[in-house]
Structures are given as structure tokens and as C-alpha cells.
Amino acid sequence: MAFTINDRLPIPPAGCEEKNVTCEFCIVGCGYKAYKWPAGTEGTPRKNALGVDLSKQQPTYGLWASPQMFNTVTDRDGKKYNVIVIPDHQCVVNQGQNSARGGMMASTLFTATSFTRDRLKDPAVYGGNNLNRDTWENTMDLTARVLKKILDNDHPDEIAFKAFDHGGGGGGFENTWGTGKLFFSAIQTRSAAIHNRPAYNSEVHATREMGIGELNSSYYDSELADTLFVIGANPYETQTNLYLMHWAKNLQGANFDDKKKEYDKGETVQKGRIIFVDPRLTASITNAVELAGKENVLHLRLKPGTDVTLMNALLTYIHEKGWEDKEFVKNHTEGYSATLKANRVSLDEAEKITGVPKAQIVKTAEWIAKPKASGHRPRTSVYYEKGVIWGIKNYQNIASIVNVAIQTHSVGRVGTGVCRLGGHQEGYCRPPAPEGMPSRDKLVVVDKAAAEGDYLAFFIWGCNPFVDSIMGQRLGNAFKRRSEIVKRAIDRNIGADNETLADAIYRACKYDGGLFIIDIDIYPTFKSEVAHVQLPAATTMEMNLTSMSGERRMRLSEKVVDAPGIAKPDCLISADVANALKALYEKEGNTAMAKRFEGFDWKSEEDAFNDGFAGQGAKMHSQGGPTGTLASYDLLRKAGNNGVQLPIQKVENGKLIGTRLLYTDKKFGTQSGKAMFQPSPQPPMPKEVQRQLDKYEFFVTSGRLNEVWQSNYHTSRIPMTRGRWPVAPVEIHPADAKKKGIQNGDMVLLYNDYGSVRAVAYLSESVEPGTLFMAFGFPNSPVNNLVTDFVDPDTRIPFYKGTAAGMKRIGRVDDIYRSMTFKSRI
């Protein structure tokens, strides 16, 4: 039984092991310190690793741990160690502060007796209705034999993979390189999809094609903005310490000295203001009112799906007023007049379409574009995220935002930027996709294709498509059906050698419609029900890992503990698959094919880093760019939790020198070097969604909760967060609830043509009548069961945020009701 000490914590002794850890959760990338020491030893209140006097009550913001920041682990040496993981007071990102998510990192470490006990520990192979624990060698041999048959008889595209492309927990430059090199260089498949979407595409094609990388500013610059313009995002809950440690300062007017230092001479210095574009009233908005005062916060509560019209109205109005940066538009951009023409919307029309009062649109234009008292242009930091990325039409949603940003020269100047806010940290470093990969508008929607019978093998790598893709329920059913065909083939071959078994699997896939499924993850999920091979991966703190944050700050997050069982870093699992295939081809004397699988002789994640991020530079698609080759584990270790902001400029006296702000030289990422306006008229409601809207009563949108991380893998286990959110809540306006006879805590059923899902009713005025907001990413109640199969034809990005459903009350599940509070979160 797990045993906890509830009212005291062990003290790290002076001189114990100390490591740098970057938070594995959101893109803000907060710095943490991990202290580790043998169990049975301890520091004293007065003499300890933190150098604080713990015999006294620590002051507000004092340096010490909470119980969730503590754990006792057993390493592979069989010894027990105490570990605390606490926010780093020296880190410029979080300055000693944790969010609810980051502060729980220590408790998410694997232990045999806690809620992490079900971590995947050994490779496993299906047989006899079980996933049976197995050796790496045998599992890899079987997997490689199946893959080899496909490569020899069919086409590499028959091997599909769906994998993380992010940094932070489970991701990082080492692991995206490992998986990318395996699939793109060695196997050479083009059947690829990314962890949270059904194809292999960028979420921000539009801004890139307009010449502007999506992470072009810095957290410090957001402190200097006159106006923060936030579209489709809820940063208090999802980019917490950016909001609390950087924006809050600006909104409270607590950093005039910095502004004076950074602004032009004579320029007006004022308290920051903030504008939110969101159909929902969120905690980000209500808290901003506390920070900045009502008069400095605007909430444009638009009708879902009308962001483009709002942005176009701003573009039009700012032009009419002559508030655009004329010199910048003339000399450093292209396509302004064509875009103005295509996007023209009057304030009256905009008010009608968006539901946002004209006066608010005018005020927004004033805050982001009207010259300040001193005559200087306002400095506007524009931020957007999933509300528009996963909105009605990905490409136009983002283009319309970036248009306004370029028009007002809100990029490349101190205190400005036009950035996505982000989910995970970033960590992309991969070879280009094999030749013949279709352009963005012709990409295969891989998840859907698999559901419809395509592919012979499918890797699901560190993600959960049945929670995080389109039409989740149909997808799950299809995978189950296809998996079953292979399972029956395996069960008919009990006792067979790997070659015979591989042949049976291959035939079941090739001739009977089966799909050979390989699951790589850290916990069992629904995937365990469909997988034939399951491989246990290591995650943050179990390996050295590099990633970059929302301001391109790259850090080395160090290994602190051993991974459970014989789990391995993803990059080394990739290498195992490649090496197993190489061995088979060598044995056969097929040197040409064996050669394709060379270059995976990595002993550690550092080898993968040196091969990929630090070894390739501009030769590959790497967020490190050409100067990534200057990085090394040694230099990054020295740079500590403050790391370096990519791209690296140079190394000076053993120190990595980076880049705070991009595009200060006004040279953009287009052929002409000019930023490109993009016509972006309002897209109509997609017909797939419209059909649901015509048939069902409620518009259903979704999003993240502060206390839940992504597919809820850790947070559905941590007692505090599991108790808070045992199933996904659905926010219902009290008027709708009354109509339907629903009360707080009732279990309700949501349903449409695509599927159904249950959720617990949470009455709230955060939503307007007629709209439901359901939490995203709960494997035990996935809202994506209701999501249609629509994707933006231009980018293949889904409209996760919009579907429709009917709703009915089921009844009250007493222990869920008792476990949760239903008080207002706004």
C-alpha cells in the first residue's frame, strides 16, 4: 500500500545531487531543480541543500517544497532515493513559481506503490488475449520481420506512423530525430500523422507562408507591450506562468522602468492593456480584470467561427483611419491592397456576423493601432492558439490575424510579436519527408484512411488518437475491428517461431483487412486493447532531453531517475527497430536495404542529439536552424535553466549566445524577404458541421482545463486532479440546464451522428445559452467522439472546436458528485 507522510517532508541534505529539469508540461518551459538523495538520510532544518532555515516558517514565495514536489523512487541499482523537484528561483522564465501542473512533476515519477505503478515497464507482444511481457530482442525481431515483409512485397507507405512532434514530456529534439530518421530516412514512408491531428502538417502554415515564424517574440517583450491581443486562448489555464509571471507585471503597471529603458526617447509609457477574443468567458479574462482594472480589459465575445470577420473588420477600419504603419507596409510587405479588397468588411456587417458591438471593435483598433499620446505607434503583442488553430478554417483564421499584425507592424519591434501561444514545448528535428510527400492541400488524412482500411502496419507513438483526433469513436471502432483480425491470426499460431508468426500477421493484414499495431507509450491506454506490440518509453527526468519553449528558449532537462522496468528513450527504441531491420537484411545479404537502416548505432540520447540537432544543422528540418551545430550537452548544461534562445548566434567564452526577438531586421521568410499579406475572407460553416448543427440542439466547443494535462495521462492518476476531475465536465449555461432538467453534478449524455460521450454537468455562465463547452483530452470521456471528419481542405487541420450535439440527463453518480466541487471557476 502506498504510504504517505501528510504533515512533514524529508529534507535534502547539503551536497546532494542537483539537476536541472525543464517542466515537462506546457510550452512556457519553466525551470525546476531536482534534488536526489539516498532514502534513510536527510539534511537538517538548518543545514540542507537549499541553504534555507527550515526550522522557521518560510515567508510567502519562500523556497521550499509542497508534498506533491516530493517522491521516493527505486532506481535500477535497487536502491531507494528521495527526490524533490521544485521551481527554480534563478530561472528567468518562472522565477521560482510553479503552476498546478509543473508543481506535480515529482509525484508523477514512477514508483511501484503509487498511482504511477501501472507505467509500462517491459515490451509486450499480444497472444492469448493478453499483452505478454517480453524481451526487447524478441519483440524487435518480430516487429522487424513484419515490417520487412511489407517493405519487400508492398510499399513503405503501407507502414504508417502517428507520432509526437513536440518537445517537453516524451518529446524533444532527441526523440523527434530518432522517430523521424526511422520513418522518413530508413523506412521511407509518407504515411505520417502528428500526435494531435490526423495528418502530417503544420498547425500554422499560413503565418509561415506569410514569412513569419510562429514563435518570433520573447516573454520579456510581452511585458513591454502596450496591448496584449489574445485570440482563441486561455493562458491562465494553459500557459500559466507566461500569464502570471510576465503579463501580470505589465497589466499591473509594475515595470515602467523596463519600458522606459526599452522604448524610444519621449515615447509614452503606460500600463498594459489586454484584449481577449473568445466566445467563452474564462478565468484568464476575469483574472485580467483583477490585475489591470475593468477599463483595461476588453472581451470580444464573438459567435463561434467568426474570428476571420472580426480580424477583417479591424484590418478595414485601421486602414480607413490611416493607422497602419505606412512605411513598413510599403517597404517590407506585399499584397496589402489586394488583401484589403478581398477582406473588406464594414463595422456594421462585422457586428451583425460576429455579435461583437461596433464600439468594441473600434476600441480594439484604437488599442492596437492608434498612435499613443507621444505620437509613437502602440506596441502590440498578438497571441493566438487552439481557439483559432482548431477553428472553423485553420488557414484563414491564422492568416487574418497575421494580416492585422503586419499592417500594424506588430512583429520584430520591442514589445511586439505575433505568436502562437502553444501547447507542449517544441522540439522538432527531423529529416524531410521522403520524396513525393504531397503538398499541404493534398495530404492524406492518415487517421481516417486507416479507419477506412488503408495501411498494413501502424505505429502509434506517444499519443492517443482515440482521444485526440477526428471522429474518435469511429476511429476506435475501426482500429479495434482491424486489430482483431490480426489477433485471431496470432492466436492461431501459438508456439510458432517469429518468422511464421510474422508471416501470419502479414497475411492477416494484406489479405484479410487486418492492421498490425505497434503502441509506444508510458502508460496503458485504450491502445493497449488494440496493440499487438507494446513498447515502454522513458519520459522527462528519466532521460536527458532538449526542447525549446514558446520564446525559443532551449534547455537540457537532465536525467534524474531511471525509467521504469526496462523502458527506454524513444530515440533508442527507434534505433532498436532500425537495427533489427538492418540485421535481417544483412543476414539475407541485401546490402542495399541494410544500408538504409544504418546510422542508428546510438548508445545514449546524447548520441541521437549529436547526430540530429547538433549534427545536421541546415541539412534537416530542425528548429535549431544552421547554427544548431553549435550546441552541445556540455554547453547546455552550463547554460542551466536559462538555456539559450534559438537561433544560437555564437559561442562566447563557453557561453551560448541566442536571439531574443526575430525579424528586427525586417527580413522575412519569403523569397522576396517581404512579409506577405494573404487574402482571407470569412469561411462558411463546413457542411459536415452544419449537418450536425441542423440536427442537434447545442453547439459544442472544447478546450483544456488548468489542472489537466493533454490526454490526462498523469493528471487522471494524481489523486488531487483525479478527484477534481474524475470525468470531463461539460459547462452548461444555467438557462439551458433548467430547460433540460439538469443540475450540477448530473451525468449527461451528448450525442450526434458521429458518436456519443458522457460528461458531468457543470453549470456556468462562461458559455452563452445554446453553447456547451466540454473539457478536452479525457480518455474516459473524449469529446472528440463528437467531432466530425471535416478538415480544412487547405491544411488538413480539423475543426475540433466546433460540432453539435443533443444532450440528455442520465442521473447522478454519487461518488463523482461528492468528489467534485461545482463552484464557479471564473
Partner: protein
Amino acid sequence: MSKQTIRNERRGFFKAVAGAAATAAASPALFAGEAKHEGGGAYLAYDRKKIGSLEALKKSGTLNFSYPDAQSPCLAVYVDGEVKAYSTLCTHKGCPLVYNNDNHTFVCPCHFSKFDAAKNGEMIIGQATEELPRVYVEVKGDEIVAYGIDGLVFGRESNKLS
């Protein structure tokens, strides 16, 4: 079972396990619906302290006290016909919490964490990693007595400073 009986049982449990780890590990069920921590748990032994009058608390709704020592501010509140008491140092970074008697929530002015006094200090939303430490109280006649804490008070390696 009346509320008073439940309280007495809790107290009995608490006394039995104070400082006795082995017993605690075997008895978590007695805390059902009450304990903040999974599995077994060890608890320090605390001194009993009279903190005020039930009648006065019922009238005003709140009662300030400190426990287990002067540097640990706490608040007793009267919710759903029951006395509940919590540490009022926010478990996030230790800011003093503000109690709203209308909806029985604690709100932190620093980073906006909110806790529900009616649900054992559960975090409604916020950046803390712990619910509010709950002070165990017992009512005898008109007298409210504190006798233990479940949860670590912010900024302490132990609830009882050395």
C-alpha cells in the same frame, strides 16, 4: 449516523494513529470522504487547543485562530451545519487567503487559486498543488477545539516547527 457521532469517530481514529505509522497504514477507510491523502498516512501528534465558541462562529460565520503555533494562521468556518477549519496560507506560494462567506470559498489574491470550504478545501481552480490543509476540530458544548492537521502547511518541512 449523526454528525456528532461521525466527528467522534474521526477523533478516535486520529488519536489511535498519532505517531503510530503501522496502525495508520491499515485504517484509511475510516477517513473515507474525508481524507485528502490516498493510502495510509503518518501524522504527527498535535496539542489540543481551544479556538473559540460555536455560538459566536455560527453568528459571524468565521473564526480566526492560529494552529499549531502562532505563525500558522487558520480560519474556522460554519458550512452546511458543520464546523470546518483550514490553514489560510495558500498552498501555492503562501499568500494569505481571503474567505468569501457567501459562497464558502477561499480566494487567493496572488495567483487566483480558489478553494471550496464546503468540500474539504478542494481547489476549484488555481495553481496550488495541494488542497487546503484541514485542521481537525471537535465541538464540545459551545467549545471548538483543534486537535490535528491533515496536509502540510505552506512553507514548512513539518507542521510542527523544530
